[in-house]
């Protein structure tokens, strides 16, 4: 299929990661009492952001491979998962 699944996954998680870590930076420390004093929003937001960005990078690399492959089938040797 034309759309590489890693792009939407990467975008969704980057956006979620940004929202979550952004909220984590500006939120009141008191709400983290229930999560054992850990700022889970910030920490997990960063993890999701990193994951999202990795997915975007891989997704993009694959579609560039497709554009460069001469036969246009998009199944170049490097395009395996």
């Amino acid at each position: 299929m034309g759309l590489d699944i890693r792009l939407p996954i990467g975008l969704l998680f980057s956006v979620l990661g940004l929202l979550l870590s952004g909220f984590g930076v500006f939120s009141d420390r008191a709400i983290y009492q229930r999560s054992l004093g850990l700022n889970v929003n910030l920490a997990w937001g960063i993890v999701l952001l990193v994951f999202g960005l990795i997915m975007v990078v891989f997704g993009n690399r694959r579609s560039e491979n497709q554009h460069n492959s001469a036969d246009g089938t998009g199944r170049s040797a490097g395009g395996q998962q």
Binding site: M1, I5, P8, I9, L12, F23, S35, V40
Partner: protein
Amino acid sequence: MGTYSLFVLGIGVALKRYMKTSADFFLAGRSIPAWVCGLAFISANLGAQEVIGMGASGAKYGISTSHFYWIGAIPAMVFVGIFMMPFYYGSRARSVPEYLRLRFDEKTRGLNAISFATMTIFSSGISMYAMAKLIQTLHILDAPLRALGLPLSASFHCNVVLSAVVVLIYIVLGGLVSAIYNEVLQFFLIVAGFLPLVFLGLKDVGGWSGIKAQLPSAYTHSWQGMGSAHTNLLGVEWFSLVMGLGFVLSFGYWCTDFLVVQRAMAADSMSAARRTPLIAALPKMVFPFLVILPGLIAVTLPIPQADLTRAGVAGTARSEVFAAGRGLIPPKINETTGLPVLDANGDAVLDYDLAIPNMLVHYFPTGMLGLGLTALLASFMSGMAGNVTAFNTVWTYDIYQAYLHRNASDRHYLWMGRMATVFGIALSVAAAYAATRFNNIMDFLQLVFAFVNAPLFATFLLGMFWKRTTGHAAFAGLLSGTAAAAIHQGLTLPAGATAGIKGGWLAVVHIYPSEMAQNFSTAIWAWSMCFLVTILVSLITKPRKETELTGLVYSLTKHPSEGHLAWHRRPAVLGVIVLALALLLNIIFW
């Protein structure tokens, strides 16, 4: 949640331009890489009933719940990948019922297609009902409803309608690819939402050793005490566990249910299709840690201060009600009196289904809580979408094209698939409302489906591996297996139940120690009856010519060679690795 919904719809829109033929719509054009199919394969099964239900069982039965994964799924997934996928993917069949027509005859296919289509509609309806009910219990939509000036009781209707519309749009636009992509997205969301929960929970109770120290040992051992039904929490002994769950039920589901098999049939090559269930088995093996552990942690914790937890106890005398609960699990509340429901011994009946939701509310602050609930929501939707895509395919290819309108153009069937999606969802909504009114009817239907499904694997096993099996035999075997299931259930009863929907409606000749033990035995009886009758009838009916069965039966099919593949892409190698890991997990948590 809003962000997620937008993404879900966006995928549908982005994929619409690729939907040119019915094969694109129903089979994803057979173009999906193995890892994507693999994740969709488990996600389609990972509806929220599964997540909520496994968390609930974790709280109720402890780590023994992992049998549903390590015994009740992994071996069957390896088997379908290595032995059965060549026939599904390699034959010209576009669906499981269609395979039955190629291998046997029209009546066997009709029986399977019609019972399967009905079942998917009801499961998706029940899934919708469960989601709406949960959101109502957690009061998630209360604030927006108040802002709109609507009564709080509208929450249920809003949920049913909103989820139906979202699923409808993305499937009508993008077909199976859209459903598969969303399932993969949902897989990652579930992991993202539940991993921090398990981490926080384990940190709080002092890790696995902390759980072990605080709970009776039956909760932390999966095999110990399986010698007798009375020495373990599940109430079954090892034979009916291994045969009933591990063999009949699990092989019947993973190897013959089109809902999951459809995901593998969308793969881009034969070897990818065979690897799909094997790749799916790897995350499936670790899922107990994500969904069962939160349940276990919920019962390990002390009963919390009432104000911490809001689910399930709105408007009642909170602290007293909570005192009757266990850890984070509140007792079931009688909706009219507001008091806990008591069982025959006067103990409170616990509402285990709230284990996971209450864990989320207990540990997650604003922010993470949104992510956790989105994950839950995502799993409801993809569970529904899985059923709907399986339904529209079976309806269009196996019922509409087979019996109602043959030889139409491909464009017409594509149109029909979209229509089937619309009325499939409309019927699911109707089923969701039926579930609110007639709870007993739903229980009854689920029972009937259990009877119909139990013998299925015997038919496939004989059909694929014994060339002598005939169509009449398959049909007779299925019917007699279903009858055997119904009769067995009618003659037995689980301990403590009264005759009726739980069994014993013919006469009570045997009492099982638990409902689970009864279910497993019903399955074993149904399977054995179908197996025997199919063999006997095959021997007295005329077999088909061998040339007609090429590609459909094991001994008459050329086996795909995989010598050229790297070791990590060979199904057999992957299968052995998966089984070894599953064995290891069973030993660790013995």
